[in-house]
Amino acid sequence: MSKANKPVKPPKLFRKLLRWFCASDLLEEIEGDLEETFSYNSATRGTWFAKLIYIKEVVFLIRPSVIKKLKFDNSNNTVMLQNYAKVGFRNILKYKVFSFINVFGLAVSMSVSLLIILMLVCQHQYDQFHSKKDRIYRILTAHNDGNTTAATTPFSTLEAFNENYSLAEHTTSLRRGIGGDAVYKKKFTQMIGYFADPDFFEVFSYELSKGNPTTALTNPNSMIISEEISRKLFGNSNPLGKTVDFTNRGLDFDDDESGSPDFWGTFTITGVIPINYYKTHLRFDVLVSKSSLNNLYQQEKVHDLSQNWSNYYQAYNYVVLNEASSEENLSQALSDLSHTKFSELEEMQVSYLISQSILDFRPGPLLNNAPSISLPMPVYYILSLLALVILLLACLNYTNLSIARAITRSKEIGIRKVTGARRKDLIFQFLSESIITSFLALLLANLVLYFVKSAFMDLWVNQYLNFDLAANLYIYGIFLGFAIFMGAVAGIFPALRLSKQQPVQALKALASSGKTKMSLRKSLTVLQFVVSLLFIITAIVIHNQFRHVMEHDYGFETENILTINLQSNDYEKVKAAFSSISGVSTISGSEYLPSTGRTENMALKVNTEEEPKTLIAISADSEFIDVLDFETIAGNIKQPLTDDGLTIVINREAASVLGYQVPAEIIGESFEMYNGKYVKVIGVIENFTFHLLFNGRSKSPLIIYNNPKRFTMANLSIRSTNRSKILADMSLAWESIDPVHPFTYEFYDENLANNNRGIFDIVSIVGFVAFLAVTIATLGLLGIVIYTAERRTKEVGIRKILGSSNVSLTFLLSKEFLKLLLIAIWIAAPLAYVLNNFWLNFMTVKVDFGLGTVLLGIFILLGIGLLTIGSQTLKTASSNPIEALKTE
């Protein structure tokens, strides 16, 4: 019954289609006919049949005699476009100053964006060559407690995953922990890499330049080496089948500290991989077959982690999903797996496994233990934000200057409208002008980019990032699109505004000009200066903070200390060889140095019942305290630390953690270690800065114990002023101990400064952006001031004849702009104060930030602003009034 009430309609989509293509003079007849047939058919043969027939009819109506004729509303299109281009170029050439301001501002701001585009394109090219890239996932260990997600997972993950789920076509795991020396016929090289299984080549699409990928990682003690290593060890001869002796020294990618040497045996070279030619997230010198592990487990040279679920630092695990499985299946499986495996382990309660597509590696989230260094996504967001602000400022310049010039152009607009231009024609005309400007800017931007790029590549951080910023045709395509977009963004507002004018008003507008929507332009100018001031003040604060950090008093001696990497040599031997060198006053051995980012922990029991207290521990000899010149506050430091590690020196904080507020009282006390032995406190030193300066922790209870086996470095206190002489002597001495490894050293103060170099990069970037912001805003202001001054030339002339002085005229012309500057300062100063205090709160060591810095920023802005305004207004005010009145 409801059918009767509701008439059936022909298929909507096809009715629409018909209406779209059918010529309008035929539409009524044909649509009517079709509908009549439809209602007849649906009554006699049913709805479905009727619909099918309708569809068939519509489809067969698509024929030339029925289709609408394409209409061109203007036969003179090309002439019109030529005219637009001509007028556009003429305008650019006629107002050279404005064009320069627009083109230059856009170009400079564009170059920054182009750089970011280059960076992003470079990152997107990573790992694109894998044939299964859409299905490759890496398993990550995430944490609920706010710790950074790790790129590594337990080594046992894949075995359990493959046992319980059949989602994967192939899986492969890379285990870290290979780093040492390979020797072939007295030639030696250092190499760092992973244990890998044969499926490595099923998952990834790397190709071997020599060797067979299917068998290269099968047998125990097989090794695939990179081309660089191959060249170092074997020169041009074929390395396949040759054997090398490998001694592991516990080297890793991110630090050059080495452990004691451990001979792992002889390995056969089964392949050579040109890994550095690939744009890939993996970097290694060597892959050792996973089957070699069993032997190493038995000799206890490598920890067996195959059933260990709490050590998630050692393995990168990759999965290729089979065609039938989706990412959701994988996530579900991993979530189940972490639930069953992690819930039993106390330390893994907050952890869970997640997956990450290989296409999301770069640019990707910030990860711990990543196999290579790259900028995480948030950095790109911040950089893009900065670039966007700069772009916005440049676009505002264009908008502002175009609107200001509206009065001059209103005659043209009027004439065009009278002769029949529609609004959309005018919009198109103005947009084409802004896009022409934008193209010119793009040309200049490419030039600027060259300098910006080389400055960027010189940043400290870039020695680790391996950016390849070469442009290709594809990238120029992106640039071109970007330029069109920029032109449209910059031009759309003026285009809409200017094209709105009524022809009559436009033609007579010259008289009633001045006041049209000045408020909008004013607020745009104010906005530009608010942004500029924010950047100026922030740049000053960051710079001050940087200087403050660099001059930070660590509480110990940092100058004239030379650190020598022992490279697994015996400390006593090194000490003996170096102590005779003149200019070396004291030599000490240590495990690592404070304030370099490294920490080791040790737990001590205060009472037998209580939970042990965790303290920072550093293994070093007594001379260490002399070399770093720690301030002794209790006990006798001269009494040497015994090399069994059972006498300790602690700092004030450690004494208080162990329950002694008066440091002298802890002298001679003993505490139980994890292994049941007791350590005895023989001295207390003053607290000092132990952690990195941007690390949030400030308190650091520390104990120093003497275990020479753990020493990785010799720290030399140097008296001599002739550093090159002393270094040459040392280099000679080193060769007598270790002819194999090159002599490597570092000055402690430079090392400390390097840790904070990242801040210097930020200073450079923010400083540069601030400079650009101020430049662009100043140029914009200059444009507006020039324009206003020009337009008021006559007024100034008359005023002068009537007796105004130069000074009062300058003031008259500047007044309006001064007001804008003051408003900008009034808004930006408090904002800058709040924002900068906000980020400074996250710093351990922070510079004083107050009114002084804000005032300095304001002073700079006012100085630049006044100079800009003054130069133009003074010129106009002091010009000869006769000249001004004569010109027409």
């Binding site: 035929l26 009524e28 007849e29 044909i30 649509e31 009517g32 006919d33 079709l34 509908e35 009549e36 047939t37 209602s39 007849y40 068939k56 009819e57 067969f60 109506l61 698509i62 024929r63 005699s65 029925v66």
Partner: protein
């Protein structure tokens, strides 16, 4: 003489319009042709024929009344012009003269 040539299908359409008299429009022509000749033609094919006939001046058309089943849209009513009628006569004459020249071995009846 392309202008006055009458295709076989066009001839059918003209005949159908004549047969329908006052009520010749898209749907009725389609139905008539199906009824008499047993041919299922699409509206598109019919449109081509109609527009060509109109171009040649064999047809003229005018809007008729709107009906409910047409969704309130008007019909376009077609009628055959004098030159259309002449063209039909000519086509018939050509066929007749062919027929009379055929030997009686083939019987049309």
């Amino acid at each position: 003489m392309k202008g006055t040539f009458l295709g076989e299908f066009q001839e059918l359409v003209l005949l159908a319009i004549l047969a329908l008299g006052e009520e010749a429009y898209g749907v009725s022509i389609q139905q008539k042709i199906k009824e008499v000749a047993g041919r299922d033609i699409t509206r598109g094919a019919l449109h081509s024929a109609l527009s060509r006939l109109e171009e040649k001046g064999f047809l003229k058309s005018a809007f008729g009344e709107a009906t409910k089943e047409r969704g309130g849209r008007r019909k376009r009513l077609y009628s055959v012009t004098v030159s259309g009628q002449n063209a039909l006569k000519e086509a018939r004459m050509i066929r007749e003269s062919f027929r009379s020249s055929i030997k009686p071995s083939f019987n049309f009846e």
